[in-house]
Symmetry: C2
Subunit: 228 residues, 2 copies
DNA sequence: CCCACCGTTGGTACTGAGTACCGTCATTAC
DNA sequence: GTAATGACGGTACTCAGTACCAACGGTGGG
């Protein structure tokens, strides 16, 4: 029974020591000693000191990749939303562990950097997927839009995740769905080319019950494309 | 004359060795030896091995912070665009050095992570600035919008910067201005608070040679504050 | 029952980054 | 001339991470 426990005992010992003395003040020898194993065994289970805190990142990446891969052109945006929800649920499943990690990354700069780097990895997945989905990879503006969209998607996820980690969110799944809706609303279909006008604007008088923001796209389209 | 050269000689030696043997295969002793100084002197000039490649990040952060700080409420978006342009110009000024760094960060994972982490630092600056500018920090949706906008701004910058680094852009400054325009187009101005009035909008007729973006703030203020 | 073969473990030794400290030397100030 | 300052080099140390090896313990075949 002590066989499968070794890995977990190491993680427990690590988190306990990090809480007691802080991350930098804890050596791997300390962790191994408290877990009752040799130093070598530590590195057999975790590639580095940081990996005790961020395990199975690769699995998470694979989860995202898989969800994105199983989608057709028409369901691409659904796949993106699903993948984001998947990541969020992954953290929620971790529960207290995720919160302890958050406490650590908030304090230790090296860990924060590590976290950011791994977030960038799945932002890259989203970017490539969205870029492929948009097609027309020769178009420079499509490339930029894919980048912007991926950045927004990941930012939205992180925003909701952090709120939940801080205990500010009672229903993070609903929030992330709402946030994703907001993100996707930002990106309309293929943009019409700018610069087809004199730069001036003609605004006609009207009254509407719509919010200004809601009708801005139409306004803009009118200006850019002309009233043809 | 060999006095001020020490720091530069170290950087030259480092980059040369990184090119010859690769980053991980180069020890700090190697660098110090080729530069003709002691190992101690290396650490006196650079806090770490990575810092030879990413010097004066702090200065760049300070540059951004300063540009953002010297702006009023009305010129906030101009300040953001300026700050982004500032960062881009910083890299362009570095010229070949920036490209050599890019070649390294493309190959070495540790350096890529480091780069990403420092990008996150100025994304944070933008986020805080935009969040302050949007005001009403209690509103959850404003917070998300600030996060999305900061992410998009930084993504746009990175996109153009990487294009330039790869030699795909002849006029990166024009490109970043265009990209920033596209980003800001994505985001309609600060949401008018719901529940004030009936949510409808009254738009009066006028004609101007100003771009729509330029007069949007006035438009918005009229709507939000009323024509008092 | 013995032995050959595993996989897991712990120990030792090494490299290399980063830190702390100290003695030396040159420049400048007085 | 001398004292103070500051840049430099050297030594010694801690700690993360790697490589290697020797000692187990079980398992299966003979």
């Amino acid at each position: 029974m002590s066989k499968p426990a070794a890995r977990d005992r190491l993680a427990d010992a690590a988190f306990a020591l990090f809480d007691e003395r802080g991350y930098e003040q804890t050596t791997i020898d300390d962790i191994a000693e408290r877990a009752g194993v040799g130093r070598t065994t530590f590195f057999r289970h975790y590639r580095s000191k940081e990996e005790v805190i961020f395990p199975n990142h690769d699995r998470l990446l694979e989860l995202i990749r898989h969800r994105l891969a199983t989608s057709s052109h028409g369901t691409a945006l659904v796949a993106v939303s699903d993948a984001v929800r998947l990541v969020l649920l992954h953290y929620i499943d971790e529960g207290d562990l995720a919160r302890r990690r958050y406490a650590l990354t908030s304090k230790v700069a090296a860990l924060r950097d590590r976290e950011i780097a791994s977030v960038a990895r799945y932002q890259r997945l989203f970017r490539e997927f969205i870029s492929d989905w948009m097609g027309d990879p020769t178009t420079e503006s499509a490339s930029l839009r894919a980048e912007l969209m991926a950045a927004a998607v990941v930012a939205a996820h992180n925003h909701v995740l952090r709120r939940w980690l801080r205990g500010e969110s009672a229903d993070p799944v609903a929030e992330v769905d709402e946030a994703m809706r907001e993100v996707l609303d930002l990106f309309p279909g293929p943009r019409s080319r700018p610069g087809t006008g004199d730069g001036g604007s003609t605004v006609v008088a009207f009254r509407t019950r719509q919010d200004l923001d809601a009708l801005l796209p139409s306004l803009r389209r009118l200006i850019e494309e002309g009233p043809e």
